[in-house]
């Protein structure tokens, strides 16, 4: 696999976006308990003017499907190869804990040093991408929990559904990012 800086930026940006969705959902749920009068009038206004529940189940089904896709597409193993001046180095990373590298037996010290620098840099980015995915997935979990809470409250159900839609879009991009990094 080859990891670019843009991959990393995309995932980190997505994580920040998802954490923002989480915050909105969490704050709306918390805010509902602070001021029942305010919350209620706000809620009345929305309830009387729109009917937002028609496609809620579909949105949630798509979110669940995307979560499964993200978790399923995260390969347990990554292979990184670096070549230079006729030499190739291969490293197999098992995310559960093992890393194995194969070097040419005939490699001179100088050549090995040059290729090793490039190879280790790739290895570092591969690791960083994995950490970024874990962070983004953790953020998804937090957002899901917050949205679930907000959905259960009549005052915040509309916020929750709006957050769910935003999360669905973010998850679709996360799935694409996982596929691109594979």
């Amino acid at each position: 696999m080859s990891v670019s800086d843009s991959h990393l930026d995309t995932i980190r940006q997505l994580r920040a976006e998802i954490e923002g969705i989480d915050r909105v959902a969490r704050n709306s749920a918390a805010g509902a308990g602070l001021g029942p009068d305010a919350g209620l009038s706000y809620s009345f206004g929305l309830f009387s003017s729109i009917s937002p529940f028609s496609n809620a189940e579909q949105t949630v089904a798509e979110i669940v499907s995307s979560v499964r896709a993200v978790l399923g597409k995260l390969a347990p193993v990554a292979t990184i190869e670096t070549s230079g001046d006729g030499m190739t180095v291969r490293t197999v990373v098992q995310y559960a804990g093992g890393t194995a590298s194969v070097w040419s037996d005939a490699t001179s010290f100088e050549l090995a040093t040059v290729v090793a620098g490039a190879h280790l840099e790739s290895l570092g980015k591969t690791y960083a991408l994995r950490a970024a995915f874990v962070g983004a997935i953790g953020a998804v979990g937090g957002a899901l929990a917050s949205i679930s809470l907000a959905v259960a409250n009549p005052l915040t159900v509309l916020h929750a559904l709006a957050s769910a839609k935003a999360l669905k879009l973010a998850l679709e991009r996360l799935v694409a990012a996982v596929e691109a990094a594979a």
Binding site: L40, V64, D105, L144, L149, V151
Partner: protein, 641 residues
């Protein structure tokens, strides 16, 4: 307890110290407390005005909602249930059988106050809404009940921290109010099952009452309640047509007697008069035992030290096979029905906290939620109970309010309607007290004992509360029927009903009130919420798994003459020579295998290997931090689901 020089003796024994919860004091001292406690809330004046209206109504007419309404007929009086805003839908579900029954009985006078019409709770620094505001939002002003607008019988569902006792007292002036609150969903379901079974099944109780009057040695308070309340009530009850009365007085009111009475088959109506147990604010026993009935076993004030469990009857003493189905009990005892967080009696300034939060008494909770068939209601006292409610200065014993209320109960009146006599007395006393305090304000010299008496009686009368549905009544045997008290099947209720179950069980057609719209709304997305929770939990499990599997770093470095022949199968490299290995467990164990060439360390390979290991280790640490942070942020949310 008569004459201005008499010491006032108060009901309630502190279980921690074994002393009186409020030490006896002179009437004059107590009157200072009263005078220092004027109306404190903006709604107090309006409440007093309403009490005056109520007093006039009661002295000029009869007890009932508006003219022409029979309080024994739910189709006329109506019936409503008040939830706190944002209440747990699982509670609603657990009560569904009861709600369906009441809806059937009350017809178009059935109301559910949920969602937008629910009680609006207070938040930090602001109290919950007043009874006036609640009624106003729901279309009713002060005055006699018009069941077409708000039903006469109102069941509050929620703990008194969320829906305060004060709201209940205020509402109870014109309406017939009861309250239930339990710690478990199963208890709500058990109570609903008991009421429904009692009113639709074969329950037919014998017309048997029991009067349980404690009189502890050397204790003026229980001597008074024994001699001037329990004994007169026992004698009077025995004269009621068709009723037999078991008397547990004159030293017979022991804990063992009470346990046996409930275990062998409780009477249809049980009246007890005793001290109620009190504990210091936050005492570990407070929640479970405050309001428990201190029995004859207490040797009296000469007893030194903490009160042992053997002296009092608490919720924990209600046996799992107790036969209390259908009983209605009335406890004259401090805190018998519940405890407010803040005392009703403060010398000046903010009332002191007497509990970490307001709560219902455990004994009534256990009695009415008994899974084999519970008592239908318990009438008890919130805060301290006072002798003034049955003894009035030079007039002596005054039991008419008790007798009138009990008579109604014995005749099959709903419990909320029977309690109207206490509410009428509260209205009268409040108006009298208000007038007297006004006189004092304008310089009149008033007997301190009169003020003390009015004040205590006022608080005492308002604090009688129904734990249970105010519309329940004694289900008594008719002339030719056999007496029958069935044992109910214990119903199984998941403690937190799954949202999908909730969705399937909630009423498909919202009842009359707009409040139910909210339940309808939640129905449509409840299945979605379950799916979201499931997905969140899957992620939590995945993260936890990641967390567990990254606790070691294993780096191997191979060399090969021909990389194309190298294969990676099942975690093992073949076709290459293993030259260096480093295994580091995060518990500190580390294994290092260093490459050598010609008897020396192969520096070139070792450097490559070491750099790779550093990268791998840094990554593991980063992953652990990320996973831990994600789990930490996820767990509170998941827990709250």
């Amino acid at each position: 307890m008569s004459g201005s020089d008499a010491l006032l003796t108060f009901n309630g024994i502190n279980g921690s110290t074994g002393r009186y919860d409020v030490e006896p004091m002179a009437a004059e001292d107590f009157s200072r407390i009263v005078l220092g406690t004027g109306p404190a809330r903006p709604d107090e004046k309006a409440h007093l005005e309403e009490l005056e209206r109520r007093r006039k109504r009661d002295t000029e007419a009869h007890y009932a909602p508006k003219e022409g309404i029979d309080p024994k007929k739910l189709e006329q009086t109506g019936w409503g249930v008040i939830f706190a805003f944002g209440a747990d839908p699982a509670v609603y579900e657990a009560l569904t059988p009861l709600l369906k029954l009441r809806k059937q009985q009350a017809g178009d006078r059935y109301r559910e106050y949920v969602g937008p019409t629910a009680y609006r709770c207070g938040s930090a620094g602001s109290p919950g809404e007043s009874k006036q505001n609640f009624l106003m939002r729901n279309g009713a002003g002060p005055g006699p009940v018009d069941p077409l607008i708000v039903p006469y019988y109102l069941l509050i569902v929620g703990d008194p921290d969320t829906i305060p006792f004060r709201f209940q007292y205020q509402l109870d002036v014109q309406y017939a109010v009861g309250r239930i609150h339990f710690d478990s969903i199963a208890d709500y379901a058990a109570y609903a099952q008991s009421v429904v079974a009692a009113e639709t099944g074969t329950l037919a109780l014998a017309k048997r009452a029991a009067i349980f009057g404690v009189s502890n040695d050397g204790d003026a308070a229980t001597k008074l309640s024994h001699d001037e309340l329990a004994q007169p009530l026992a004698e009077w009850a025995a004269t009621q047509a068709g009723w037999t009365v078991d008397k547990y007085v004159n030293g017979d009111a022991t804990k063992a007697r009470l346990a046996s009475l409930l275990g062998d088959g409780a009477p249809a109506f049980l009246f007890t008069a005793s001290h109620g147990m009190c504990y210091n604010n936050g005492d570990i026993r407070q929640q479970a035992a405050q309001g428990a009935l201190l029995c004859q076993d207490w040797p009296g004030p000469s007893y030194q030290g903490a009160i042992p469990d053997g002296f009092f009857f608490s919720g924990d003493d209600v046996a799992s096979d107790a036969k209390v189905f259908g009983t209605i009990a009335m406890h004259f005892a401090c805190f018998g029905a519940g405890t407010p967080q803040l005392s009703d009696y403060s010398v000046s300034g903010a009332p002191p906290a007497i509990a970490p939060k307001s709560f219902l008494g455990r004994l009534p909770q256990r009695l009415i939620a008994h899974p084999r068939g519970g008592a239908l209601a318990v009438i008890g006292h919130v805060e301290r109970a006072w002798g003034c409610s049955f003894h009035w200065d030079r007039a002596g014993s005054q039991t008419e309010v008790f007798k009138s209320a009990i008579k109604r109960l014995l005749e099959g009146h709903p419990v909320g309607s029977a309690l109207e006599y206490f509410n009428g007395r509260y209205a009268e006393l409040s108006s009298d007290l208000s007038t007297t305090l006004e006189d004092v304000k304008f310089g009149a010299a008033v007997d301190p004992y009169l003020i003390s008496g009015l004040w205590t009686a006022n608080n005492d009368a308002r604090s009688y509360s129904v734990v249970g549905d105010p519309a329940v009544r004694l289900m008594l045997v008719h002339d030719l029927e056999p007496v029958h008290r069935p044992v109910l099947e214990v119903i199984s209720v998941p403690e937190t009903a799954s949202p999908s179950q909730q969705a399937s069980q909630l009423p498909a057609t919202p009842p009359i009130n707009a409040g139910l719209v909210d339940y309808g709304v939640i129905d449509s997305v409840r299945g979605a919420a379950a799916s979201l929770q499931d997905a969140a939990q899957k992620i939590g499990a995945w993260l936890a798994d990641s967390f567990q599997t990254v606790t070691s770093v294993h780096v191997s470095t191979y060399v090969s003459d021909s990389l194309k022949d190298v294969q990676y199968v099942n975690g093992v490299l073949t076709g290459a020579e293993l030259r260096a290995v480093t295994i580091a467990n995060l518990d500190g164990n580390t294994v290092v295998c260093v490459p050598e060439q010609d008897g020396k360390v192969d520096d070139a390979l070792w450097k490559i290997h070491s750099d790779t290991f550093d990268k791998a280790l840094a990554n593991r640490v980063e992953l652990l931090k990320t996973a831990a942070s994600a789990i930490a942020s996820l767990v509170p949310g998941v827990k709250a689901l």
